[in-house]
Symmetry: C2
Subunit: 368 residues, 2 copies
């Protein structure tokens, strides 16, 4: 009876607001007809505002990983030298994608739980014999809850003459990312994070000045081909069938986000983060990211105290409190839990998860 | 007020039954939790029944075109010689995808509106100096409403020692395609056709005996990598976030299809086709495909009579009758209209579109 009563606090998919669900229940329409073209045209305008970009935003039926692959095959060519700055699981994944496609990857890795430092990046780029074609970096690392200081990193990369490609899948809308202002060449995002829409839509935004690199890429591509997408987008259509019902949802979500105002949405995410971090510390739960400056406003990783089983804690939250949180990945498995505050999450949700954690931990065990 | 009262008879997306819509309104769940694993395990079993295959069926957040690209990059390697049998727009598209990925394509094209003939294929394969690595063929050509005689073609291809890869995007579930029995190595499908689910899910089914070719392929891939998908599928998960809400819908649609029974579903599609073809002929509208044996049970293309504007006919159906049909593609633009009878379409829908066509055409013009 309570299977659908669940507080979904994993870092994607995130909870869907009822107004987004209602929008998706609209009957599916012909993607080659005028009603769709009107939808796609307004969606395009809203997306540009959210990405803070004058260039185009491309919409793929795909998971966020598809957006990473799309940036890789549209901006790079086999043999290109790129710098992959990784601070965790998803940075590693993107670098692996690039390697699979024959790109020559140089890794600059930072310890999981820490942010990339502008100084280290500047030093690294300085000692490169020739400029990297591109620098690939994660805005917000979902595996650790760390946000990179992109505002400081971006000018360093642009000075070095490289393209700056950013994975903002779990960061967009939760924290500021003014693409044009920071001169970020391309940004990947996905529907199921702070955009409050079910999974199935991948987004790639391209800064106008960066378009010429798409034309130059010699990577084989069809599904992800931005040139093909652009030729259809000029008349508000897509090369192949778009995920119409999900787009109805995304349109409703974007309307709500823009009505609230981007700055207010950023503030809201920050407030939730602070509430959770302070509340957790009060319970004796230490955030993985100690420095507030690099603590993500999208999600928070908490260290599981000595003697407590992370798996058991997740199970107890699931079964006794109907709260879904995520565990750690790779070497952080068993060491942290990850709690999302992206999208349609309210202070009351954070209060509930804190109350639940407090009750479980003060009982002196997580087995009950 | 009537914007949502619409009879959607384009060949995808097709109408969504209310029970599928209701299933999709279930709140989104954690794709790394036990509820999802249970869903995905049962979905897998249902998909195998629908594809009539003992091998695995892979689920991608993607459009149908993604399934074509996935088959291309998982079964072929750059430089491989393949035969692309094309009878229309979508056959051409698949061949283009293969060419983009460096596959050496030999084309065997048949006139739009006709089926591929087993004799011609046998002759063509006979005169090849060495066997083609694979033969790529469309089951049901959506641009013309022609179904290929795959039951006869399959043994010819297998005798020639080639892999048989089939695009069944607009054919699956509307017409028989017993994969194991016909020894078809891989089949592509998509949610938004006879599977009665919104667009956003691409499917690739692989015959067990064909798996070894996936391991051998040297094509660069990540998003479409079936090896990666398989490693997660073994514990009922996916490498990246699946389109959870669409999968709820697909699961409900598959349940309905299997409860009705595949043979009954095929019969139903055939009845609708016959009703539409006979009714159209009665109105003096000639089907593009004259031979009943090759007339698709998914959709029917009707020739627009001399002196009638196809664009105007489509507009009148849209605005006066709230019926959405499709026009012709490429050189058939302006010459045909295409009416889908895939999925959640009832006899009453066909009666309505016939009545509308009758009224418009007997008024002697399509301008009113």
């Amino acid at each position: 009876m309570f299977s659908e009563k669940e507080l979904l606090l994993v870092p994607g998919p995130t909870p869907i607001p009822p107004f987004v669900e209602r929008a998706m229940s609209r009957p599916v329409i012909n993607h080659r007809g005028p009603a769709y073209e009107q939808l796609f045209a307004t969606l395009q305008e809203k997306l540009k505002k959210v990405f803070q970009v004058t260039g185009e935003v491309f919409v793929f039926p795909a998971a966020g990983t598809g957006a990473l692959e799309a940036m890789t095959v549209n901006f790079l060519s086999p043999g290109d030298a790129v710098l992959v700055i990784s601070i965790g699981f998803f940075g590693d994944r993107w670098g692996e994608i690039a390697e699979r496609f024959g790109v020559q990857v140089t890794w600059l890795k930072f310890p999981w739980g820490e942010a990339a430092t502008p100084e280290a990046i500047r030093e690294f780029l300085k000692k490169a014999k020739s400029p990297y074609k591109a620098v690939l970096i994660t805005m917000n690392e979902t595996s650790t809850g760390v946000v990179n200081p992109l505002q400081e990193i971006a000018p360093i990369v642009k000075e070095a003459g490289s393209l700056l490609l950013v994975d903002a899948i779990s960061g967009l809308v939760a924290m500021p990312l003014p693409m044009d202002e920071w001169k970020i060449d391309a940004v990947a995002a996905a529907s199921q994070k702070a955009l409050m829409t079910p999974p199935g839509i991948a987004l790639v935004a391209v800064r106008e000045a960066a378009w010429k690199f798409v034309e130059e890429s010699r990577m084989p591509r069809y599904y992800w081909d931005l040139r093909l997408a652009r030729s259809f987008q000029s008349h508000h259509q897509n090369p192949y069938t778009p995920p119409v019902s999900l787009l109805f949802g995304l349109d409703a979500a974007l309307t709500a986000i823009l009505e609230e105002g981007l700055d207010q949405v950023f503030d809201r995410h920050r407030r939730l983060r602070d509430l959770l971090r302070n509340g957790a510390r009060h319970l004796g739960l230490e955030p993985l990211v100690s420095d507030d400056r690099f603590a993500s406003c999208s999600l928070t990783a908490l260290k599981v105290p000595e003697g407590v089983s992370a798996a058991q804690l997740i199970q107890t939250l699931r079964h006794q409190y109907r709260i879904e949180v995520a565990g750690g990945q790779e070497h952080l498995r068993g060491k942290i839990i990850r709690i999302s505050h992206m999208g349609w999450v309210h202070e009351s949700d954070i209060h509930l998860v804190l109350a639940a954690l407090g009750q479980i931990l003060t009982k002196g065990s997580s087995q009950n």
